[in-house]
Amino acid sequence: MAGGDEERGRSSKKLKTRFSSSKATQEEYFDDYGNDFDNDTRDGEREIKAREFTNLELKPDHANRPIWACPDGRIFLETFSPFYKQAYDFLIAIAEPVTRPELIHEYNLTPHSLYAAVSAGLETETIISILSKLSKIKLSSEIIDFIHGSTANYGKVKLVLKNNRYFVKSQFPEVLKRLLKDEVISKAQINFEVENVKQRCLPNALNYPMLEEYNVHNDIVNPDLNIALKPEAERRPYQIKSLSKMFSNGRARSGIIVLPCGAGKSLVGVSAACSIKKSCLCLATNAVSVDQWAFQFTLWSTIQKENISRFTSDNKENFRGSAGVVVTTYNMIAFGGKRSEDSEKIIEEIRNREWGLLLMDEVHVVPAHMFRKVISITKSHCKLGLTATLVREDERITDLNFLIGPKLYEANWLDLVKEGFIANVQCAEVWCPMTKEFFAEYLKKENSKKKQALYVMNPNKFRACEFLIRFHEQQRGDKIIVFADNLFALTTYAMKLRKPMIYGATSHNERSRILEAFKSNPDVNTIFLSKVGDNSIDIPEANVIIQISSHAGSRRQEAQRLGRILRAKGKLQDRMAGGKEEYNAFFYSLVSTDTQEMYYSTKRQQFLVDQGYSFKVITSLPPPDSGADLSYHSLDEQIELLSKVLNAGDDMVGLEQLQEDSDDITLIKSKRSAGSMSAFSGANGMVYMEYTTGKNKQGHGSKSKPKDPSKRHTLFKKRFAP
């Protein structure tokens, strides 16, 4: 199959070189574009006609200019041009990146991206003149009109938070009249639904996008917080750049900053809090991240211990003093059920306080309806969302535009790798053929529910995994994390290979113990993680990730997992091209060939491919002569494994369900779980056995019925002879 695709790919390259200008650029562009699995050649021929731009006029000095600005809003940037850096900064501010491989980037001009540009302070005329200066081709009138149309209405309407109430401010009375006439907005006035007002004003509705700016210095109502960045907090150039998009003219803008994992998002968050110097509410996804954020605050800033508090189901602290930082989880705030009294008190305080900064970590989870409640419950002047992946499988990412604000800055992963700030990752897909018996079972219709279990427990995959672990541990001394969504697989693999594992039900203490051992103990080099490992758990010392099973098709999940290892390690010189540690981080995705896993795996790589990572495919693991060195070599062992998989209950072979961090009062309530009637009658292979506990065997315990007549219950006194 791979062979066939390559042939089609080549013929499409020939067709596509009808773009005018230097052939060299085009070949390189498509060489890079074609080294992965995506292949749109079938409709490529049709689209070639639509994207035919050969008749556009080139400017005489086009060789000096770095971008192609096409009439349909797409922009292509040559990264090898001397003006790449400036052009990149400008394009990131006005357009959305579509894909950024090594040599040519593609961007898209959309109303939303122009909105972001204008809220960052760029004016319409400036945008047009710079775009035209950088472009090889004359800007078409379509583009100019588009930019005018999208930016005309910005800045006319402002949303202001004063005395705990929201006001819509505008210098143009006719705009206000128009807004008031709108049904949705007038209803919102009565119900204080700010979110609806903001949504209505977006470009796809009334087209009066609201500016939300927080004038930090003029805010005398809210008490100041004594917090500043420590002098040893050295900020890297991209961190400073992203913050400069947020703060200018003494005002703070709300929005989202996208930085790769491991690039130092926490420092950006803490910096923002230090610049605003008012109370800050920091939201994280789970209790572990809460601890980490609190730690980051104390690490990078001069905040006093009594001014920072954590609010989780285990910790119900509150800060002393008039201003401070509260770190909590989305669940704790958005929780709709009954709370314990302590929680209720703290929630009331959070609700009534006017926060200077609402700092949201991993903002891509916010659009879900539960998390949106957080924004409507809390009142804050400025909202900063931090994330590494602005993609979600459901299309709710555009909700963020009105919930938080526009995207302020997005860093280019490959640039950060080149500058040595994040590790240079070698991504590889290891193709493991299914064994005859496993594949036969996979195909059978009655095993449709067990399909996932079967392709994950493929013995060849197991052998490949074992081989990789052995290779990296022994020959390179790397730290390895193995990810598995499927709990059954996780337990089987971990137990067979005798490695520690962490999943949803592992207690907090045991998790800390295992993570600590992983960090410091030279004998513990591999751990197995389930879905819990996907978010924010800080494991800076891992270099290798092996993925044996994963949630069907989530691009976000794959990108997050890469984040676990994107910590720059080793010396900077070694990491440069040609140095001895050029690739010092590895990401292996083990896939069983000829199964649904292939489909999901390609889908998940899309995000990483668009970021510029290339995937290598490895087909010869483990080496055929390894034979009995690895497990499951003999047919008997494989058949035994197969029967184990087939006999496991349906619930066990599915995905792990994580219990979200919730208020302690709900944890006390009883849990319901689905059972089957056959289990009760012993069909699950369980047998009832009666036995006496040690206490009674010794004759020590007293029998339950007292023989003493006077101690009998009143009801029975009459029955027995007195």
């Binding site: 199959m1 699995f37 995506d38 292949n39 749109d40 409709d43 490529g44 689209e47 053929p433 299914m434 064994t435 005859k436 594949f439 036969a440 195909l443 059978k444 219709k445 060939t593 000829d594 199964t595 649904q596 292939m598 489909y599 999901y600 390609t602 889908k603 899309q606």
Partner: protein, 70 residues
């Protein structure tokens, strides 16, 4: 006298052999086409089934491949 049956020899990898066997098992008895399973990678089938088997395999592989929407 030798009894000879004319047929088609299919040589493939182990998983695809399993796929063909499974497909054969899912057909009603009148349409079963496998004459003999030689070993893990070779199967002897009725001569007219060549195209049919090819298209089934292509269909199966398409299901497992993800094409990026243009």
């Amino acid at each position: 006298m030798v009894n000879a049956i004319k047929g088609l020899l299919i040589s493939c990898d182990i998983p695809m052999a399993q796929f063909i066997i499974n497909y054969n098992a899912s057909l009603p008895p009148s349409q079963k086409f496998i004459l003999h399973v030689l070993d893990n990678t070779h199967i002897f089938v009725q001569p007219s089934m060549g195209e049919m088997i090819r298209s089934k395999i292509a269909e199966f592989r398409d299901q497992n491949t993800y094409e990026k929407p243009a």
